[in-house]
Amino acid sequence: MSIVATASIAIQRRFGRQRLRQYILGSIPFVVLISAWHMNTVFEWLPPVFIPAIGEVWDAFFILQEDCAGVGAALTLDNSCLMSTHILSSIGRVILAAVIGLPFGIAFGILAGMSRPISKILEPIGIFANSISGIAWIPLAIVWFGVGWMTTLFIMLNTIFWLMFFNSMMGVRGVARVYEQSVLTMGGNRLDVITQVYLPGAMPSIISGMRMSMGFGWRALIAAEMIGGDSGLGFMIFSSAEEFKIEEVFLGVIIISLIFLATDRYLLMPLEKWTIHRWGLVWKPT
């Protein structure tokens, strides 16, 4: 048996036939696209001002980071380390907004789910806030906070909070009353009901809401950085486009989607899957 055949059998065993087929088939469009991109540079179908060379995009990363004084400067978001500053400030905002927005959204959502009067007031406000869509808040945020960190953070918080609020509220409403009654008959108080019935009962919905709000929040953040930011990946692609540095735009767009894909696939999706299985429900890929 030839080496190729042996290797092919080994690979098939390792990944499974079906999986392998999917990997190979799935990679075809990427290969085609990347080759077309490269051929465009070679044959100059579209000028390099519109489609940069692959090498240029790769180099742009290092050119932007060229003047960086070291790890210390990169971590303090020094302006000399352009690339890392943009990446870190975007990620920093996401983390900050998540740390503030998620707990508040969940807390208000659970409260509204438990109490009719509260939900009667908050729900219409939430529906309205959600329909304005995070992006439409940007001009007003600029008026209030000026261009910069506060505006971008506000836009993302606003998006996260209301999504989280709705998902937690719906989660709590979906919890069967019997569970509450059973805790109460066993001598539990209101706090016990919240911590032992509503919070765990609403958990699958809360986790799904987290995944959803991070997706929407990330998009809103990029838009906010473009219009009302002075740093971050959104700011980077927008200002590079104004200077016609198309290679930097491509680089930024690729980094934006890679960060989102990585967080979603390797952090949020497994978390969602785990919770839903753990709570005895069936997870459907979205």
Binding site: G26, P124, S131, V143, R219, T286
Partner: protein, 270 residues
């Protein structure tokens, strides 16, 4: 004559209106207005930071008189309709194709996943380099954002048509084409409706963002220039318009359409 039975009849008649809800909503809106009024009267320079509701209403009269508000509104809606209908017209057949053929699906799924994660707004800078601040740019962004949600939903719609329906049609002697026509297409109709609503929602956001970024006239542009020109009352007016139009569109057009499709195709558990 206002007899007792007439009164009862009147009460029964009144119950048909969601009056309780409407009163509730009105009270909440009035409450918010009062808080808003209070805040704008206590802060310094309210014209810049938070103009009172009265000023917003006045500015709306001004803009309606000048004909700006209706024209902006019309522009935005036109973009939404044109952009999302092209997006749906491309996305639905593509989703169907992917749902019907496993090989095609395996091939394009990862790539679609990648492009979906590049949000439509993020590709704006690329498109703007290609076509400048034009309507074409805004349309491209709307198209991009509305295409993927509908394609993914339709794909899962076709996949979720229960196998027993397909088996039943096959034992009746149906050909592949007949199975697609009689089973898979109608079976995925509810998903097509849901996906359309989702896609139009995404497109709405994209229209607003696109108008702001590309500077094309419309509601998004109105709030953006309002901020530039220090006319905060126009910014807030634009935001209210954006919110209200979406609520009307979603609650009175898209949601009923979705519910109706799902019911018509008999997939409601009753």
């Amino acid at each position: 004559m206002l007899s007792r039975s007439n009164l009862n009849r009147l009460a029964a008649f009144w119950r048909h209106f969601p009056a309780a809800n409407a009163v509730n909503l009105t009270l909440i809106i009035i409450g918010i207005m009062l808080v808003w009024l209070l805040i704008s009267n206590t802060i310094e320079n309210p014209a810049r930071y938070l103009p009172s509701p009265i000023q917003v209403v006045l500015s709306s009269f001004d803009m309606i008189y000048k004909g700006l508000l209706p024209s902006y509104f019309g522009d935005t809606i036109t973009r939404l309709v044109v952009g999302s209908s092209i997006g749906l017209a491309l996305g639905i057949p593509f989703g169907l194709l992917l749902g019907l053929n496993r090989t095609v699906a395996d091939m394009f799924y990862p790539m679609m996943n990648f492009f979906q994660s590049v949000s439509g707004i993020a590709i704006f800078p690329i498109v703007v380099v290609w076509w400048g601040n034009s309507d074409k740019t805004v349309l491209a962004v709307i198209l991009y954002t509305s295409f993927f949600p509908i394609a993914f939903t339709v794909l899962s719609g076709v996949r979720e048509v229960p196998l027993r329906y397909i088996h039943a049609a096959r034992t009746l002697g149906a050909s592949r084409y007949q199975i697609i026509r009689d089973v898979l297409l109608p079976g995925s109709m509810p998903h097509i409706a849901t996906g359309s609503r989702l896609s139009i929602g995404f497109a709405w956001r994209a229209v607003i963002a696109g108008e702001m970024l590309a500077g094309r006239e419309g509601l998004g542009w109105m709030i953006f220039t309002g901020q530039d020109a220090d006319k905060t009352s126009e910014v807030i007016l634009g935001m209210v318009m954006i919110g209200v139009s979406w609520i009307i569109l979603d609650h009175y057009l898209l949601r009923p359409f979705e519910a109706d499709t799902i019911e018509r195709w008999g997939l409601v558990q009753r």
